[in-house]
Symmetry: C2
Subunit: 193 residues, 2 copies
């Protein structure tokens, strides 16, 4: 059996101009930029934060998707079950799905809006997938990703780490955008409580 | 404000041959027959039987729909909120939606399979909608339906009742097919319990 992995690291971008210059110098090939809006929902009787699950409506341009993410199966590789199903296009359909989820007791908890620019960069004979995200309320992030199997996993890890060093990226961010947003919006501890 | 109503009565069919003859004599115009499969789901933490709600995947031929039915707003007219949204066609997509609902904790409770033949019949100057259903596990039923507003409600009721008499239909069935199926499949009371 061949196990497949996604080796991925994410970093907050502190100097966008310098980073873009390094990517250009490295020969990055940019693809189109897309706007993604992810509306996340709370389950009516399960604490998704505790069960490490998520349900969201993802809007990519005019397209809509309903996505369920299961708990991580394996902490090291961030592998998780994901079911993403397309639903009807357009804002009217998106609103109808929000109403259906609301009727079933799912409540909106947070909305992650980002502008994502994807690209690829050749690094040590491998095509590394790049995503440069501008996340509303959080700022800029870059993700580096390589697919691997059991045989190539260690090499892939080393490639991603060395590319990060080359690009001047430090302090990898392990939390998801949703987790970061929920931490931002947590109420301050109150003396009255 | 104009209130609109659906005046509807359903009857178990005891003599299908005689009924079909009476419908033909009355000049029924049959439309195409369609196969409908409704998979109903239990909510992970709400008793739909108690809250008078329902969630189902409806399959009509190759088309799939996700349908939420809210509680009846008004017992007299059976009016209820309904959100029905098309999802991707075909059995593979239907199965993917079942998996997504299962992952969220919704469990299949019953499946209503029927062959439905729709038609119209002119009766006392009104076009009455007819549905002749062959429901797996339950047998044959006929539904008579007329749309009405506040002004025509009483007339519509009288028309449906007199057509039922004319067709030899007695003992209107108020329960839904889902309710009838769940009653059928309830375990027998046990002396050990």
């Amino acid at each position: 059996m061949v196990m497949s992995f996604e080796v991925e690291q994410k970093f907050a971008v502190t100097d966008l101009v310098a980073l873009q210059q390094r990517l250009l110098d490295g020969g990055v090939q940019w693809k189109e930029s897309v706007s993604q809006t992810d509306q996340y929902f709370a389950h009516p009787c399960r604490d998704f934060a505790r069960t490490d699950e998520a349900l969201r409506i993802r809007q990519v341009g005019l397209r809509n998707f309903l996505t369920y993410k299961g708990p991580k199966i394996d902490a090291a590789t961030k592998t998780r079950r994901e079911i993403e199903l397309p639903v009807q296009d357009g804002p009217v359909a998106g609103e109808a799905w929000r109403k259906l989820l609301d009727a079933l007791g799912f409540k909106p908890v947070a909305c992650v809006r980002k502008q994502r620019r994807k690209g690829v960069l050749l690094w040590q004979q491998a095509m590394v997938e790049i995503a440069l995200d501008d996340v509303a309320g959080l700022g800029q992030f870059i993700e580096l990703e390589l697919a691997a199997d059991s045989q190539t996993l260690q090499t892939a890890r080393e490639r991603i780490l060395s590319l990060a060093v080359h690009l001047g990226l430090t302090d990898a961010e392990r939390r998801s955008y949703l987790e970061l947003l929920l931490e931002c919006s947590s109420p301050e501890p109150s003396e009255d409580s």
